[in-house]
Amino acid sequence: MAKVTIDHQTFEYEGQQGLLQFCLDHGVDLPHFCYHPAMSAPANCRQCLVEVGMPQRDRATGDVVKDDAGNDVIQFMPKLQTSCSMQMADGMVVKTHRSSELVKRAQKDTLEFLLINHPLDCPICDQAGHCPLQNQAYKHGPEGSRFEFEKVHKPKHIDLGPRVVLDGERCINCTRCVRFTREVSESHQLTIIERGVRNYPMTPPGVEFDEPYSMNVIDICPVGALTSKDHRFKARIWEMSKTPSVSTVGAKGSNVDYWVKDNQIMKVTPRTNMEVNEYWLADEERLDYRKFNEDRPEGPTVEGAPVSWDMGWKAAADCLQGVDGSRIVFLGSAWATVEDNYLLGRLAAAVGASAPVYLPHVESGHGDNWLRTDDRTPNAQGCERLGIRAISPAGLKARLESADVLYVMEDDPVASGACSVEDLAGIKVILHHYNTTNQTLAAADVALPAAMAVETVGTYVNMDGHAQRLRPAKAIAGVNRTLSMEIGKCRADRHGTPFDKWYNESNLVDCQPGWVSLPEVAAGLGHAMAYKGPKQIMEEVSNALPSFKGATYPAMGEHGVRLETAGVTA
């Protein structure tokens, strides 16, 4: 196997590999700005310079020349090389800043240059705290500056498009954003204009930077030059905590981090998962987070009057009590988790009703064969794998004609056009809802607010059969040991929990996950449906159903499990 020596440590490798990526993968930290694994390496920031040498070979024989001690004689290249653009070769010897004063000096020099015209406005910059330039300047940069002149001035706070704002002075010209629009999204909406030290990224004349993936440049910008119009100046990075979870906006199930402050979702950023969304996230997935914070219900209601949770659950059980199973319609949801849909199926079976159905929310033409999909729900595949089938609004309407009770879990049949509030006048409606804007709420006899994807523990299965875990990013009102434990486990800090100085009780939503409400309703009917928590439910699902084989919580971990497709009618 080929060998490469980095700072006197020898590594083995196979195939063609870039030196910088290899170093990063093997715990050899090298400062860099312009390099991004998903894009070409222009080697323009010059931050990742290293010394590179190869064993010297005898010109006549081709043998490696040995010194007196029998070691290979290494011939170093006369100039420092950018590791990002350097392909590794067998026998290569690399010296980074750990073993070479020259490299250390070069890295410091480059940072000095990068900082002379940088505004150094970190105290008011959104990037501060998670800024590669800031971090690397502290780690590898010079102390103080020798620059005694006026900095170059460039345009500031320019709206490149509807969602991205540019501060030209902060830009260090790494061209990551330009390469993103060229090589990844292929919208070609950004380019560098001007020349030399006046360079900055800009759209061509008459073009708006409005592509559906524009906000990815905010994440890959190594400084605060590109910021989110939606999020800028809303929260400092250290005031928020982030939770790894899954997007709720489409069937792709893009992996995301939810950022929470004061128990409210502040922003959504992509989380790398090479099997799903790679490094990217569609703008619509980032911006559709207000639903988690706004128009949230305040506890259960019966006939519109607030009640306690126990009374709510009992009222729901009373609605179902004694009704012939054939006259109850259970509506599952492609927004609800696999666990909750499974429990709904069990409840339906317990009362003798047929299996739940779900309303698909498909917007034809919305998808782009990348991260945006026609299906606007995250878990239709999970429903199908549970045997919960899609039903058209008209089909649902037909079924309601012979129904006495409609049990709606986390959906809105009125808004979907399946029925009107008047149609539901003669039918008892039990509704688990997310928001007070739910139009079925007006017809609901029993309304049991449901925890949303950012508040619960559960599983979504994306369109490709990738089962992934949801983790609670924000807390709900009341005590739930499972959720508290999960929040504690998946956050590195404790922001947003009762132990946090930012903690704000007014933003706790009084709702319950389906895996709490459904067993309570079942218990009211005398059916035991007790689980220790969603983990145990998913274990049962993965054991009972071949289409979920292997989808346990430990197996899904942070990046999910690709389920077998055999025998699935999706």
């Binding site: 080697a43 020099d109 240059f113 380019t191 560098i192 030399g196």
Partner: protein, 437 residues
């Protein structure tokens, strides 16, 4: 010791003294396209033998780097009929002090066309781009008209002279950026992209214009090709300095009586070029300094040029480079600091901004040199300048950072006292004790 032999009786070949030579009929009457006809229509020549003849001539690139031309041509990969390949003729001449290619393009364009076609034949290329500075607008239209005539006569285009060899020449006007003269950014500019230099490897012969094998040669270099074919590689190798042979266009500017472009063999004594060719120093002043080959080559003091000839070896020994042989002559009244200020301004203005050290460094250099020139500099600024040069040299994608740093480094090195004289006096020198400040 001059290596140019009997240069006073040298007969010009690149720019012969023929009136209206730029016109096709005049050019034809003066052996024009004879070399091309010989190459295309006689059995004597094959692509390999043309390349070998150029190798034999010892021709080195005239664009500044001085790379052996025949060797460069032989770097092209074997011909694959499915893969296009290109030649670029680099006429984006814009280094301060360099103005020789425009003479060729203006007064002898057909020699350049003929050279391009011979090079294309040698490398089996069917399309050549002549990249010219857009500022040369006045005579580019004349040149285009002459190219049309050459097309009409069947010297360019399909099935040239019935030989079965076809080759197109496209004249492309640049939009006026110095960096476009760097070969890889020239290719990007040609492709319609922003003229950022590319990382090498891959070299142009592997991945050039639109990713296809490409060779890039300077205008003057290609103009030598017909001469080599006409008169043989040995004839060419016999002109001028043995290790850096051939006729060369000396662009002499500055404080001399007759500035201009002069064709002579390589290996001319610098003193001969100043005192005899260019008619001596203007106003009988004394020579103070000169740059031998365009603004980025290290400056030479008057006392450093004794016996130095204009060829790579001699200039290297003297501490400079041949570059483009655009000589800038400065007399004793020249303010070197002010001159350097202008030069740093140029590189600051022309840095493309791709690489950090060049983008930020060129501006900083200008800032400091300007401050010194205005009498506001400190002595420590000189050390800082040298430091910044070290931070720039060899750390960028292309050589512009080096080209920007060298004038600063060598001018301070060779004229330090003039810089010190312009700086604010040190406290010690001004008689102040630290305690009294």
């Amino acid at each position: 010791m001059s290596k140019a032999g009997d240069w006073r009786n040298y007969k010009r070949v690149l720019l012969p003294p023929v009136k209206d030579l730029h016109r096709l009929d005049v050019y034809e009457a003066n052996e024009g396209y004879r070399a091309l006809r010989e190459v295309l229509t006689t059995d004597k020549w094959t692509p390999t033998s043309v390349t070998d003849e150029v190798k034999k001539s010892g021709l080195k690139g005239r664009g500044g780097a001085g790379f052996p031309t025949g060797l460069k041509w032989s770097f092209m990969p074997p011909v694959n009929p499915d893969v296009p390949r290109f030649l670029c003729c680099n006429g984006d001449e814009s280094e301060p002090g360099t103005f020789k290619d425009r003479q060729l393009l203006e007064y002898n364009p057909h020699l350049v066309f003929e050279g391009i076609l011979i090079a294309c034949y040698a490398m089996t290329i069917r399309k050549a781009f002549l990249y010219v500075r857009g500022e040369f607008a006045d005579w580019i239209s004349l040149m285009e008209a002459e190219l049309e005539k050459a097309y009409a006569k069947g010297y360019v285009g399909q099935n040239i002279m019935g030989s079965g060899f076809s080759c197109d020449i496209v004249i492309h006007k640049g939009a006026g950026a110095y960096i476009c003269g760097e070969e890889s950014s020239l290719m990007n500019s040609l492709e319609g992209k922003r003229a950022y230099p590319r990382i090498k490897p891959p070299f142009p012969a592997q991945k050039g214009v639109w990713g296809y094998p490409t060779t890039i040669n300077n205008v003057e270099t290609l103009a030598c090709a017909p001469l080599i074919i006409r008169n043989g590689g040995e004839w060419y190798a016999g002109i001028g300095a043995p290790t850096h042979a051939g006729p060369v266009l000396y662009g002499i500017s500055g404080h001399v009586n007759r500035p201009g472009v002069y064709e002579y063999p390589t290996g001319m004594l610098i003193t001969d070029l100043i005192n005899e060719v260019a008619g001596g120093m203007r106003g009988g002043k004394k020579l103070k300094a000169l740059i031998p080959g365009g603004s980025s080559t290290p400056i030479l003091r008057a006392d450093m040029i004794d016996g130095v000839t204009m060829d790579a070896d001699s200039l290297r020994a003297a501490g400079s480079m041949m570059g483009t042989s655009g000589m800038l002559i400065m007399d004793e009244d020249t303010d070197i600091v002010s001159w350097l200020r202008r030069i740093t301004h140029f590189y600051h203005h022309e840095s493309c901004g791709q690489c950090t050290p060049c983008r930020e460094g060129t501006g900083w250099l200008e800032n400091i040199v300007t401050r010194i020139d205005e009498g506001e500099g400190n002595l420590r600024d000189l050390d800082l300048l040298i430091d910044l040069c070290s931070q720039m040299e060899g750390r960028t994608v292309c050589a512009l950072a080096d080209a920007a740093a060298w004038p600063v480094r060598y001018t301070i090195d060779r004229f330090r006292s003039e810089f010190e004289a312009k700086c604010k006096p040190s406290l010690v020198a001004s008689g102040l004790e630290m305690a009294t400040v």
